[in-house]
Symmetry: C2
Subunit: 338 residues, 2 copies
DNA sequence: GTGAAAGCGCTAACAC
DNA sequence: GTGTTAGCGCTTTCAC
């Protein structure tokens, strides 16, 4: 770690450490002259105050913990980029952890972080279920938490999502308008909050358009790409195969492309698809994929802003128990028929 | 931050703080009985030692700083995932920063981190140039650094790359074998190390196959997607337009797809392309993209392993000044003609 | 406007 | 096997 300290600067300048500290922190009770001397020497020696000594003393770490269920995913990368743009101007740091969609790991990370390593948390919870019992350790704590995208519905804090219901409704409606009558809904887990909202929208769209729904249209997939492809392929071999697909996550749209490649079924002629996705190259797929995308960068910025406000100002109230809903954007491409 | 401390545990158990500390750290000089009592209470109260007090005392932070030029990129996400799998078993944390391909920002992050916030660094340097003068602040420091992918050639430490020369050679050779005679090489900046190696391979492949090279075949692109597309589109309108493209980074292959979409030129019939890329859905593009991919996860693991070895063992020698070369993998798809 | 001293929570050297 | 003490580098009373 660094070797040059405030004490050292103080000796060099024949000042007390406290004076140097105050000068560095631009305290008004220090003369302009002393300030300059201190700042000059600090710059010359490339002095950086020891962050851990400061953290210990001030009881705050100036770092935010981030837990995401998956790292190789544009959506989450964009969110984190958004967070970093705002945290860095406040001198805050980002400790990012991947829970790998695993509640156990999520819990471990949480325990680790609650030891005081971070001043606040941003989470998108693992998709196994949303019972979120493992989040109880957070509840007796004062550490502010913000959830986004994959949110627990019963945790009293601020949450950020996009309008899943509306987007699901619009996505399904678009398929219906394009002539689809057997529209399946692909979901990773029925338990997870975003899936649920999107599904509600889908179901209501069917109802509104008088399309009789069948339970088998809800296709619950898993985390194994190979198994999902198999599952989907078999679905398309059936006599009453679907003519429309609404994928609640990008991963499942990709699996659908791969499953279809194994059959003779053509998209968009025989089956149309639209998917929730933040991929930047939806236009380059074959055929180009119609998507519903989320303002990921904005979500990240907003999460960070909420926390920066709470952390950098005095006497801020606790984070409100509310859900902020941001609009998603629908982009129509050939996968739903041009 | 956390409120329950070693001192508190000590009072509860009528022991000295030092005894509690030793018990928690499983020191052999503590009786099994006391150990159990301490551990039990610690578990019951969910005690986590204050990481910053520990860092201050031990003069190490148990965290690694990571600086990448771009976050929304599968390659870097995979590398970080790889690092995390190994750091987490050693109790190390990852502080990740995005330099946005900007040397100034890279320098700022570096100065910040050198204040003692991290025990070691992993970097993939910004692509503006590889003069790496801004890395000089690192040179007088003892902080171990490992570079990967975008490496400075004149910095005495361990670097990890893939066999760019060979891959470039093989990529170009493949295009030649497929009948291409005017093969352009797309590069983000001529200065950057990986681009150079890949280009050397490309040039040698041309020479080995007696293809007369023209300077205009090296196409230096920028960071603006729109401008790159324009540049490429114009290239394809020329009379002696290229019939082969070797893209040294994924981004430029995507720009080529988009540029071609504006013309009547068909891939792979009239022009073939292969690109360095770690994208997982190369097979879903139209046409599927032949790729040369890097073992990103492995690279991340290896970087972390090198640092863990240096940091967790006593009297480890400094990181050797050498370059470890990992093999890349070539996957042929329709973009180069099946 | 500056200095002296205490203490954040932890570990380690030194008692005993 | 356990306790006492000092100190990591910083900020912040409290003096003057």
């Amino acid at each position: 770690m660094a070797e040059i300290t405030i004490k050292y600067l103080a000796e060099k300048l024949k000042l007390a450490p406290s004076t140097v500290s105050r000068a560095l922190n631009d305290s008004h009770e220090i003369s302009a002259n002393t300030k300059k001397k201190v700042l000059d020497l600090a710059k010359e020696l490339n002095f950086q105050p020891n962050p851990y000594a400061r953290s210990l003393r001030e009881q705050k770490s100036k770092t935010i913990g981030v837990i995401i269920p998956e790292r190789i995913n544009n959506f989450f990368s964009q969110v984190i980029d958004g967070m970093e743009t705002v945290t860095k101007v406040h001198g805050y740091h980002l400790l990012v952890y991947n829970s790998n969609e695993d509640i156990e790991q999520e819990k471990n990370i949480l325990t680790l972080l609650l030891g005081g390593r971070v001043d606040a948390l941003v989470m998108s919870i693992s998709g196994q279920n949303e019972k979120s019992k493992h989040l109880d350790i957070l509840k007796n704590r004062t550490t502010p938490v913000v959830f986004f995208d994959r949110i627990p519905h019963d945790f009293p804090t601020t949450k950020l999502i996009t309008n899943g219901y509306e987007a699901g409704y619009n996505g399904a409606t678009h398929l219906i308008k394009k002539g689809c009558r057997k529209i399946i809904f692909l979901v990773l887990s029925k338990e997870i909050s975003i899936g649920k909202e999107r599904m509600r929208g889908y179901l209501d769209a069917l109802k509104a358009h008088n399309i009789p729904f069948e339970n088998s249209w809800i296709v619950v997939c898993g985390h194994s790409e190979a198994k999902n492809i198999d599952l989907l392929e078999n679905l398309f071999y059936k006599l009453d195969r679907p003519d429309g697909v609404l994928a609640s996550v990008e991963k499942l749209a990709l699996a659908t492309y791969r499953a279809l490649a194994k059959t003779n079924i053509k998209m968009p002629d025989q089956v149309k698809m639209i998917s929730f996705s933040n991929m930047k190259i939806a236009d380059l797929l074959n055929p180009p994929l119609s998507t519903i995308s989320q303002p990921a960068f904005e979500i990240g910025k907003e999460c960070a802003n909420l926390l920066m406000k709470k952390l950098t100002r005095k006497n801020q109230p606790d984070l409100e128990d509310k859900t902020i809903v941001l609009p998603s954007q629908i982009s129509l491409r050939e996968s739903t028929g041009k």
